[in-house]
C-alpha cells in the first residue's frame, strides 16, 4: 500500500512540488511570524532587563483615573529624592523626568532629525550610575547646556561628541547644546526610538515643568528588596507608590511585548489568509490527480482494494506532502525571519541583535497547521477516490460530476450562513467594532467557500462569455482557449477561487481606502473651514499650546483655534473631551451646531446630539464634571452639535477652562483663517516663522492636508497589499498547476492539433488565453466580492470614521489587468512544455 503511495507521489512529483509551494508559502508565513515575534520579544526582554539592571525599586505616581497627557507620566514634587537618598537602606537614588516627543535635534539645514515611526524621548539623566538605563558609548554625562544623544540619532545627524547641536524645544525657541556624550539605551539598540538626555534641571527648564519628577529609581546596594520597599513606603505622599525593580522590568517587557504581540498577530492573520487560499489550490490538485488516476484506482478496486484502502492511500499521500511542506515551510519561515531581522538591523544601529528564537510551540503549531491544511484539502478528493467503482478500470474516461442540485444545496448551506454573518456584522445588533469585524471576517470566509462551490455552476458559461472577445479577436486559438476554459467548470471554478480571494481582499482594502478618502473629502468640504492647519504630521502628537498664542499674535492671521484632548469625569464617567477655542473656532470648523451657541462660556459644555439624546440632556442641563487635577465643577449644556468628524469627541469645553486643569498644556491641532486682504503666501510665510521653531510641526493648506492624508492611506494600503500579494502568488502557482495538469490531460488532443497544422506559437497562444480567461473569471469574481466586502466593512465601521462608500474604479481596472497578466505568466511554463511535446509521442500518449 505504502509502496503505491510513494510511487504515486514520485510519478506526479512535478505537480506535487507546485502544490507544495502553496502550502509552504502559507506555512512559512506562519513560522516566520512566530519566529520573528518570539525573537523580537526575547531581544526586547533582554533590553528591559539590561536597562533596569541596577534598579531595585522605583517610586512613581499611581496610574491616575484621568490622564490627558498621553504617554507622559504623572509628575510629583522632587523633594522626595533627598528623603529617599537619606535612608540607610538606600545606596543610590536618582529622580528623573521624561517626556514624549518634545525635543528634537536639528540637522544643519534646520530640518528636524527624527525617525519615521518610532518616537523621540526626552529624559533627564544623571550619568552612569547603578540605576542608569543608558550606557555611554563615548563622552561624559551632560551638564547645563549639554545634551547626550543616542548613537542612531548621532549617526543620522552626523554629530560627534563636542559638536554644538541645535535642539528644537517645546518653548518654541531652539537652543544650542554641546553634545557631551553618545549613549545607548540598555546595551544598545533602541528599536528605532531616539533619546535626548539632559541633566535634571535643564530637562525641567525645557519642559517648563517646575521642580517635579515622574520617577525616582533606587539602588539598594544589596538591601533586601522587601526591606527597601518597606523603608521607602512611609515617605511617599498620596498617589505615589513604590514598586520593585522586577515589577518595572516586567511592565517594560509587557509594554514591548504587547506591541510585538500586535505585530505578530497581524502577520499571523495574513498567514492564515494565505493558508486559506492554498486550501483551494491543494484541493484542486488532489481532485485533478484523483480524476486522472480513476482508471488506476478502478484497477486497484477490481483486484481487491477496498474503498477505505483507497481513501487511506490518498490521505497518506496528502499526509506525506503535508509533513514535507511543513518542514520546508518551518525552515523557510525561519529563514525569512532571519532575513527580516537582518533588514531591521541594517536600517541603522538602532536595532539590537539577538539570536533567533525557535520555540517548540512554533514547531508544533507550524507542523500541525501544515498537516491540517493539507489533509482537510485532500478529504473530499479522498472520499471521491474511494467511491471509484472497479468498473472504471475498463470504462473509458467519463468522470461523474456532482449534480447541479447537489452543488446548489451544498453551496447554499455554506453561503447562506456566510451571508447571514456578513449581514449581522453590517446591520445587526452586534456590540463593538471588534465583534462586527469578526462576524464580517468569518462571514467572508464562508461566503468565499460558498461562492467557490457555487461558482462551478456558472464558471463554464462565464468563461464562455469572457472568452467571447478572445474568440472574436484570436480566431481558432481563441476559440479553443475559450472552450478549454469552459469545458471543466469545476476546475475553472476551483482554480479561479484562489485568485478571487486574493483580489477580493485587495479590492476590499481599496474600497475601504477610497471610502476613507471620500469621507475625508466630504469632511474637508463641510466641516473644515480653516485656511491653514498646523499639526504634527508624523504621529499626530500633541505639542506646546504656546504655538496657538504665537500664531494668534501674527497680523496675517484672523482666527486661530487649538484643539486639545482632555480626559474628564463627565457625570461620573471617564470621557474624552475636546478642549477647544470656541470663541475663534466657529470660523475654523463647522461642528454642525443644532441648538445653542457655538461660542461656549467657561462654564459651558457642548454635547454631541446622540449623546445628549441618550442621556436625556438638553440646553441648560447642568452636568457635574471633574478634571484630572481634581477640580470639580458644574457645567451647563450650552450647545448641541451633530458633526464630530473634526472634534472627534462627544463633548466640547472651552480650552480656556480645560488648560487650567491639565498637567501638560498641549494641543494636537491648530486651525487658522487668514486675515482679510492678506495674500495666502504671505500669511503662510509668517505662520512658518513660528512653526519653524517647533521642528516637528507641519503647516498645510486644504489641498496639502488632503494630499498628506491620501499619502498616509496609500502607504497603509501598500503595506497591506504587500502582505496580500502572497495570496496572489499562491493563486499564481495554482494556475500554473492546473494548467500543467490540464495540458498533461490533453496531451493527445495537443498532438492531434499539432499534426493537423497547429504551430507551436498557436498552441502557446491557446494555452495562454485559456489561462487568461480563467484568471479574468477569478479576478472578476474577486473584484465583485471585494466590492461587497468593502461595502460591508464601510457599513460596519462607525460613521465618525468612514461614512461614505468610495469606489476606486481605476484600481479595479488595474486589478482586472493584473489578473490577466497573472494568467499570462502562469501559462508560460505549461505552454512552453506543451509546445515542446513531440507530435508523435503526444498522439500515442495514453
Amino acid at each position: 500500500m505504502l509502496k503505491l503511495v510513494v510511487r504515486g507521489i514520485r510519478a506526479n512529483l512535478g505537480r506535487l512540488v507546485l502544490t507544495l509551494i502553496s502550502v509552504v508559502l502559507g506555512v512559512a508565513f506562519v513560522s516566520g511570524s512566530f519566529v520573528l515575534a518570539d525573537s523580537l520579544r526575547s531581544i526586547f526582554d533582554q533590553i528591559s532587563e539590561d536597562a533596569f539592571a541596577g534598579v531595585d525599586a522605583q517610586v512613581r505616581a499611581v496610574e491616575p483615573e484621568l490622564n490627558s497627557s498621553g504617554e507622559n507620566l504623572v509628575r510629583f514634587d522632587e523633594s522626595i529624592i533627598d528623603e529617599i537618598s537619606a535612608l540607610p537602606e538606600v545606596d543610590y537614588a536618582e529622580g528623573g523626568i521624561f517626556a514624549f516627543e518634545q525635543t528634537y535635534s536639528l540637522l544643519d539645514d534646520g530640518e528636524v532629525n527624527r525617525p519615521l515611526g518610532p518616537p523621540v524621548f526626552t529624559s533627564s539623566w544623571g550619568g552612569p550610575s547603578p540605576v542608569s538605563s543608558f550606557t555611554v558609548v563615548e563622552g561624559v554625562a551632560p551638564i547645563g547646556q549639554q545634551v547626550a544623544l543616542d548613537s542612531a540619532q548621532a549617526n543620522a545627524g552626523g554629530f560627534a561628541v563636542g559638536d554644538q547641536v541645535t535642539m528644537s524645544l517645546p518653548t518654541g525657541e531652539p537652543e544650542q547644546f554641546e553634545l557631551s556624550a553618545i549613549i545607548d539605551f540598555g546595551d544598545g539598540g533602541t528599536g528605532g526610538a531616539y533619546f535626548n538626555l539632559f541633566d535634571l534641571d535643564t530637562t525641567q527648564r525645557i519642559l517648563d515643568s517646575g521642580d517635579v519628577v515622574d520617577s525616582v529609581v533606587v539602588n539598594g546596594g544589596g538591601t533586601d528588596t522587601d526591606v527597601l520597599l518597606a523603608a521607602i513606603e512611609p515617605l511617599l505622599p498620596a498617589d505615589v507608590e513604590v514598586v520593585s525593580g522586577e515589577t518595572v522590568i516586567g511592565e517594560s517587557q509587557e509594554d514591548f511585548g504587547s506591541v510585538i504581540g500586535i505585530f505578530g498577530n497581524i502577520l499571523l492573520s495574513f498567514a492564515f489568509v494565505v493558508l486559506f487560499v492554498s486550501i483551494f489550490i491543494i484541493y484542486n490538485t488532489f481532485a485533478i490527480l484523483v480524476g486522472q488516476r480513476t482508471k488506476q484506482l478502478g484497477l486497484l478496486r477490481s483486484i481487491g482494494a477496498s474503498g477505505g484502502q483507497i481513501r487511506f492511500m490518498v490521505l497518506i499521500e496528502a499526509l506525506i506532502i503535508g509533513i514535507f511542506a511543513s518542514i520546508v515551510g518551518l525552515f523557510g519561515g525561519i529563514g525569512v525571519a532571519w532575513l527580516l531581522k537582518l533588514l531591521f538591523s541594517a536600517g541603522g544601529n538602532s536595532f539590537p541583535d539577538g539570536p533567533l528564537e525557535i520555540r517548540l510551540r512554533t514547531v508544533i503549531v507550524v507542523v500541525a497547521v501544515g498537516l491540517f491544511v493539507t489533509l482537510i484539502s485532500a478529504i473530499i478528493p479522498a472520499f471521491r477516490a474511494s467511491r471509484v467503482s472497479p468498473l472504471e478500470a475498463v470504462r473509458d474516461g467519463g468522470r461523474k460530476e456532482r449534480s447541479v442540485s447537489f452543488r446548489l444545496v451544498a453551496g447554499a448551506v455554506v453561503l447562506i450562513p456566510g451571508l447571514v454573518l456578513l449581514a449581522l456584522g453590517m446591520f445587526g445588533d452586534v456590540d463593538g467594532t471588534a465583534a462586527r469585524l469578526a462576524a464580517i471576517g468569518i462571514g467572508a470566509a464562508l461566503t468565499f467557500i460558498g461562492v467557490s462551490m457555487m461558482s462551478a455552476l456558472f464558471a463554464g458559461r462565464a468563461a464562455g462569455m469572457i472568452g467571447g472577445p478572445v474568440e472574436a479577436t484570436r480566431g481558432i486559438n481563441g476559440r479553443l482557449a475559450r472552450d478549454n476554459a469552459s469545458r471543466n467548470p469545476q476546475r475553472t471554478a476551483a482554480t479561479a477561487t484562489a485568485l478571487m480571494i486574493g483580489l477580493a481582499l485587495i479590492t476590499g482594502v481599496a474600497v475601504l481606502a477610497s471610502s476613507l478618502l471620500a469621507t475625508f473629502d466630504d469632511l474637508l468640504e463641510d466641516a473644515l473651514t480653516a485656511d491653514l492647519f498646523v499639526y504634527e504630521a508624523n504621529q499626530g502628537l500633541d505639542f506646546s499650546s504656546g504655538v496657538v498664542e504665537q500664531l494668534d499674535a501674527l497680523p496675517s492671521t484672523d482666527s486661530v483655534a487649538g484643539f486639545a484632548r482632555v480626559e474628564m469625569l463627565v457625570d461620573g464617567d471617564v470621557e474624552a473631551v475636546t478642549g477647544f477655542d470656541t470663541a475663534t473656532g466657529t470660523s475654523v470648523i463647522n461642528a454642525g451646531i443644532l441648538d445653542g451657541t457655538a461660542e461656549l462660556s467657561q462654564n459651558g459644555i457642548a454635547v454631541f446630539d446622540e449623546t445628549a439624546d441618550e442621556r436625556g440632556w438638553g440646553l441648560g442641563t447642568t452636568v457635574p464634571v471633574e478634571f484630572e487635577d481634581g477640580f470639580v465643577t458644574d457645567l451647563t449644556v450650552e450647545a448641541i452639535y451633530d458633526d464630530r468628524s473634526i472634534v472627534e469627541n462627544s463633548f466640547i469645553v472651552d480650552r480656556r477652562l480645560s488648560r487650567q486643569h491639565v498637567q501638560i498644556d498641549a494641543v494636537g491641532f491648530v486651525g487658522i483663517t487668514i486675515a482679510d486682504g492678506v495674500d495666502a503666501e504671505v500669511a503662510r510665510a509668517e505662520v512658518e516663522t513660528i512653526t519653524d521653531n517647533f521642528a516637528q510641526l507641519t503647516v498645510q493648506d486644504n489641498t496639502e492636508f488632503q494630499e498628506g492624508v491620501e499619502g498616509q492611506i496609500g502607504q497603509i494600503q501598500i503595506v497591506i497589499n504587500g502582505l496580500l500579494v502572497l495570496c496572489l502568488v499562491v493563486a499564481f502557482f495554482g494556475i500554473i498547476n492546473t494548467m500543467a495538469l490540464s495540458v498533461l490531460e490533453r496531451t493527445r488532443e495537443i498532438g492531434l492539433l499539432r499534426a493537423v497544422g497547429m504551430t507551436r506559437n498557436q498552441l502557446k497562444s491557446t494555452i495562454r488565453w485559456e489561462a487568461v480567461i480563467v484568471s479574468i473569471f477569478g479576478a472578476l469574481l474577486g473584484i465583485l466580492m471585494g466590492l461587497l466586502l468593502g461595502w460591508a466593512a464601510v457599513v460596519a465601521i462607525p460613521d465618525s470614521f468612514i461614512s461614505k462608500v468610495g469606489i476606486p474604479w481605476l484600481s479595479l481596472v488595474i486589478y482586472l489587468i493584473v489578473g490577466g497578466i497573472i494568467g499570462v505568466i502562469a501559462a508560460y511554463f505549461p505552454a512552453q512544455r506543451a509546445s515542446k511535446l513531440n507530435v508523435l509521442d503526444a498522439i500515442s500518449h495514453s
Binding site: R479, L480, D483, L752, L753, V756, G757, T759, Q762, V839
Partner: protein, 248 residues
C-alpha cells in the same frame, strides 16, 4: 496508352530514406535507404509486421517525424529543408491525417473539426466543398454535433472529411479503421476509395489487415526497414498469401 516516366506525378516520394533510433548498441534501423513514390490519384496501402518500419515511413513522409538521412518530398518540396513552422504549415495545407482513434477535438463540433486545419491557417476554404464532403460522408444532419455525441464510425468519417476538406496533396491514414467493426470499416474504406477514384485524391494508409489493404490500388510490403514487395490491385487472398510467403 502507355504511361511514360515523365507523365507520372508523384504526390509524395522518398529518396534513400533512412531512420535510425537510438545509438551505439541500442541502435535500431527503422528504415534502411527506402526509395518509394506515391503516385497522385492512387490509393496505396503499406503493410508489414510490427517493427517493419511501416509507421515510421508514413510518419516521415507526412512530416510528423524527420529522417536520419535521405529525403522525403511532398509535391516538389523536400521536407528536410523545412523548419518546424514551415513543416506545420505543410501539414496544415498539403497533408490530411486519419488516425486510428482520437481524431477529433472534443470541444469542437463536426463542421468545426472539419475546417480546423484551415481555421488554423488563413481560414480560406471552399465552404461548398466542405459541405459536399460532409454530405458525402453522410454526416449532413450531424453537422453541429460534438464528437462525444457520435459513434466510433461516425467519428472516423468526420476524420476522413477533415482530411479531404483542404484538398491536400496527400492523405495519410494510420490504421484508419483499426478500431471499427467490419461493416463500418467497409463503409469508410469504400468512401476513401471513392475519394481516390472520383475526386482524384491521393491516399496512403498503414494497415495490418489484408481485407483493408484490398481496398487499395497498390500494396507495399515492408520488413526490417526495407520495401520487400509491391503488389497492384490486391485482393484479401493475394495479400494474405504474400504475407505468408514473406513470413517464411
Amino acid at each position: 496508352m502507355t504511361v511514360t516516366e515523365e507523365a507520372v506525378r508523384w504526390a509524395a516520394r522518398a529518396d534513400r530514406a533512412s531512420k535510425i533510433y537510438g545509438s551505439g548498441d541500442t541502435e535500431v534501423h527503422a528504415l534502411r535507404e527506402v526509395s518509394v513514390g506515391f503516385e497522385a490519384g492512387r490509393f496505396t496501402a503499406i503493410m508489414g509486421p510490427s517493427g517493419s518500419g511501416k509507421s515510421t515511413l508514413m510518419h516521415c513522409m507526412a512530416g510528423l517525424d524527420r529522417l536520419t538521412s535521405g529525403s522525403a518530398f511532398i509535391g516538389g518540396t523536400d521536407l528536410g529543408t523545412l523548419n518546424d513552422k514551415q513543416l506545420t504549415k505543410m501539414r496544415r495545407e498539403q497533408v490530411g491525417f486519419i488516425f486510428q482513434s482520437f481524431n477529433l477535438v472534443p470541444t469542437l463540433n463536426v463542421r468545426e473539426n472539419v475546417t480546423l486545419p484551415s481555421d488554423l491557417g488563413d481560414g480560406k476554404i471552399d465552404m461548398g466543398w466542405v459541405d459536399e464532403v460532409i454530405q458525402t460522408v453522410g454526416l449532413g444532419d450531424r453537422i453541429s454535433h460534438r464528437p462525444n455525441e457520435l459513434s466510433g464510425g461516425q467519428q472516423q468519417r468526420v476524420a476522413v472529411a477533415r482530411a479531404l476538406a483542404t484538398r491536400p496533396e496527400i492523405v495519410f491514414g494510420d490504421e484508419p479503421t483499426g478500431n471499427l467493426d467490419s461493416k463500418t470499416s467497409a463503409e469508410i474504406l469504400e468512401f476513401m476509395r471513392r475519394a481516390v477514384k472520383d475526386l482524384g485524391q491521393t491516399i496512403v494508409m498503414v494497415t495490418h489487415d489484408p481485407v483493408t489493404a484490398s481496398y487499395s490500388d497498390r500494396v507495399l510490403f515492408l520488413a526490417d526497414g526495407q520495401i520487400v514487395k509491391q503488389m497492384d490491385d490486391p485482393t484479401p487472398d493475394s495479400v494474405l498469401d504474400t504475407i505468408k510467403s514473406l513470413g517464411d
